[in-house]
Symmetry: C2
Subunit: 95 residues, 2 copies
Amino acid sequence: MQFGERIKELRESKELLQRQLAASLEIDTPMFSKIERGERRAKREQVLLLAELLEADVHDLLAVWLADQVYELVKDEEDANEALQMVINTVKKQQ
Amino acid sequence: MQFGERIKELRESKELLQRQLAASLEIDTPMFSKIERGERRAKREQVLLLAELLEADVHDLLAVWLADQVYELVKDEEDANEALQMVINTVKKQQ
DNA sequence: TTAAATTAGCCAAATATTGACAAGTCACAA
DNA sequence: TTGTGACTTGTCAATATTTGGCTAATTTAA
């Protein structure tokens, strides 16, 4: 939902081609295209690399990347909000 | 983390045995035991059944069940909080 | 100590994810 | 139009993960 768009924006603002970033990530261009369109998910390690290559804030990218995955899990659930609040409380304490 | 404990409490307060609930869910007792201890995750459908069998609030159980899964995804992430906030915002709009 | 209840460990079957390839579309320059 | 480069689509096999169920151990309670 958001991660791919973010990557695409950053990539275009740096005038890089998919195949260039794909090469850096050691995947093929179709795979990179899919990541940008959210059809496939990037690996955590790839997010770190992309942050570096695109000179973007790594925490920001990681947060968006994570959010995509969480969203995928809860998007069809009526009780998503309650569940998310519970997790936030748990995560707070855990720090 | 929470779902299994919740089920166990409800089960014990109704003085039911694992094997009885397991039979109702059409799984074996060891599997039910694992669900209670969080070693395996229940299917959504099983949560609905459990809510009925244990006379518990189905939304409440679903929320806890979902929360477990989300937690599993974000628990080791430094940026979990930011990600969760993003998802909450997205989910709010989606309604 | 026994018998029932619960847990641990293991394995095979089913499912999902992954990476790669070939072929397709699209925009545009020659 | 034809050709070229950038990107997308679809498919497939390889790999990983999840699932269900079995056996055997351990715990609990009488």
